[in-house]
Symmetry: C2
Subunit: 375 residues, 2 copies
């Protein structure tokens, strides 16, 4: 059902089913994948949902076909389109992260070459020197054939996008395609699309970004890229989260050094101390990324491929459910550990987790670790 990108094209009905499923309450990319693996298709998953969920007694709200059609129409009016995992235009690299979005909303150049990508992130309150350096770096990376990926924030993000307008740049949004944040960068977003770049988001039209949506978005910034460059970053900053996500995704992390007397250099310097590559020019980055063949880059194995059903068709019972709840805690725990701790078959654990997820009781981190959501 799912396959290598470009091999598959969803029918209209399939696309609507996918959209309805991923927009259902408590269905994230992980749960989406589990449901598809279990039921065989999005249509079948939608039909099964009312029976699967509901230990809590509340069936998850599934958007109607009309609602899904309206989202697609609204996206079209903005010049955008939905691209599904496996379809042409879906970025290869994104398949190698935990929980890639099943559907991306994309506006702009349909023929973008996703092979050579590098993310640039940094402080919103960047110094003039930091912004100047970001512009130099982005222009040089663009000239060398790299797509510059960033988050459309103030400061370093905006400087990077600006300098890479003519060579192609990708802005990943934390909200819906009609919810550009910050509003001062709406003109920049328009230019990105007009000049051959792309706006991209996994969130629905109308979704206003909340604080927790930014780290979620950052996993796409790093996930779309062979490497992440941190230009100016304080010690606690979103840029460092992106760098950490990049490491988890086996991507390169580059950091620009700075004076120890400059608080905006603390994050970058700390990253270098922890093993990130110190860079002072685009050449430093290109030298490393040239070797980064996505197919042998230590990337994660795509985890969205259908899993084998081991024939564990016995449904879980209340005892199994109690055992899993005992094993879970508010500390993120690898699913493999839960399987070991409970002594249950992996398929049973997956099914119970799916139910708990649909009831909104779980939080996933890193795609392989799961915790009980604090009540």
């Amino acid at each position: 059902m799912m396959a290598r990108p470009g091999v598959v094209a969803l029918s209209d009905a399939q696309r609507i089913a996918w959209l309805r499923l991923i927009r259902t309450d408590n269905v994230g990319p992980q749960t989406f994948r589990q449901l598809l693996n279990r039921e065989g298709s999005a249509e079948a998953a939608l039909a099964a949902l009312p029976h699967l969920a509901g230990r809590s007694g509340i069936a998850p709200r599934i958007p109607s076909i009309a609602e899904a059609e309206e989202e697609i129409a609204a996206l079209h009016r903005l010049g955008g389109r939905l691209v599904a995992m496996g379809e042409l235009g879906y970025p290869d690299l994104l398949l190698h992260i935990h929980g890639p979005p099943p559907l991306l909303s994309i506006a702009g150049n349909p023929n973008l070459d996703w092979q050579r990508t590098v993310a640039m992130v940094g402080a919103r309150n960047a110094s003039a020197a930091g912004q100047k350096f970001a512009r130099m770096l982005a222009a040089d990376l663009g000239d060398a054939g790299y797509l510059v990926v960033s988050g459309l924030a103030r400061g370093i993000d905006a400087a990077a996008h600006m300098a890479a307008l003519s060579t192609g740049t990708v802005a990943v949004l934390a909200g819906g395609m009609d919810q550009i944040y910050p509003t001062e960068n709406i003109p920049l977003a328009r230019r990105i699309v007009e000049e051959g770049g792309i706006l991209l988001t996994e969130m629905p039209i109308g979704w206003e970004p909340r604080a927790r949506d930014f780290p979620r978005r950052n996993r796409l910034v790093s996930g779309l890229s062979l490497g992440v460059v941190v230009v100016e970053a304080a010690r606690r900053s979103g840029s460092l989260i992106t760098a950490r996500l990049a490491l988890e995704q086996n991507r390169e992390v580059f950091a620009v050094p700075g004076s120890p007397l400059d608080p905006r250099a603390e994050g970058g310097n700390a990253l270098i101390q922890q093993g990130a590559r110190l860079i002072t020019s685009a050449a430093d980055i290109i030298e490393v990324l040239r070797e980064a063949d996505p197919s042998r880059n230590g990337l994660l194995e795509p985890d969205w491929l259908p899993e084998n059903d081991d024939g564990d068709s016995m449904p879980p019972d209340e005892t199994d459910r109690g055992r899993l709840l005992d094993a879970l805690s508010i500390a993120p725990t690898p699913v493999d550990d839960l399987v070991k701790a409970t002594g249950l078959a992996a398929g049973i654990v997956q099914m119970l987790l799916l139910e708990l997820d649909l009831d909104g009781r779980l939080e996933w981190s890193g795609g392989q670790r799961v915790a009980l959501r604090p009540l």
Copy 2:
């Protein structure tokens, strides 16, 4: 004859013989050691010199006893003294470099504890920020019990010495004890001695430092230290030579990062790219040096211990000499390779090298590699 420092004290006559031998033309620390190993004592080496040298027909000029006595007296008038390898007050760490000076001229605190030492080096034209950071670092290192070693130059060196005056600092001179360079730092040199620090040099009284004496001096700056901190350094600078020497001596190398837009950060950033530790505080340095036990620090084995005479008492003949000259080139070659290339016994090669050295025909680098001096 030679032994662990503090175990030996030279007699006056021995000290004068050592001084005459090391002050003889073309006798550097390497040759000094070879002569002592061969002849058994400095006195014997002085007696043998006229017979050893002189393929060139010119016997090397040996200073008279009176001249040696005058150097010692002049040093005393400046408040200084000569300390020989193996004597109390000779820094342990210096024994673990190639070609440690047989005699050091030292002025200042006779009870300095050489166990915890760190060198700070950097740009003469350092920025205000660089000097400020050097002061902070030196003061913090001093407070933590580290002697701060540097070269008394303008900029970073002077800032480091100044900030470490109260806790103890060591200035290594490129010229004689009476030839403080630059002259603007004469008051600083005086304060270093008055406030419990030390001035140190291997060069004779009256020696005005030439350009080539500074790299030679830098090997002592690094050699006296467990690690070297580079604070601000351009891409081609003496500080980077000191860092390289430190690596050859198996010492830690620390570098302070800076903006890629700041030319004075180029050297430090490049060092970090090559593997030096990025540091932003004294704590970063101390954390590493705390583990650096000089006795198990990967230091070089002391190479000044007497070598075993393998009984190779057959003197070399003209054929041997020709074979060695053929094997030598203006490219530095390890002595071991010369032994292999010539097929001569190691003792014969050493003796021939000694003769060539005394004739002024050799240049040593790193203590283990030797080249023909270009004619």
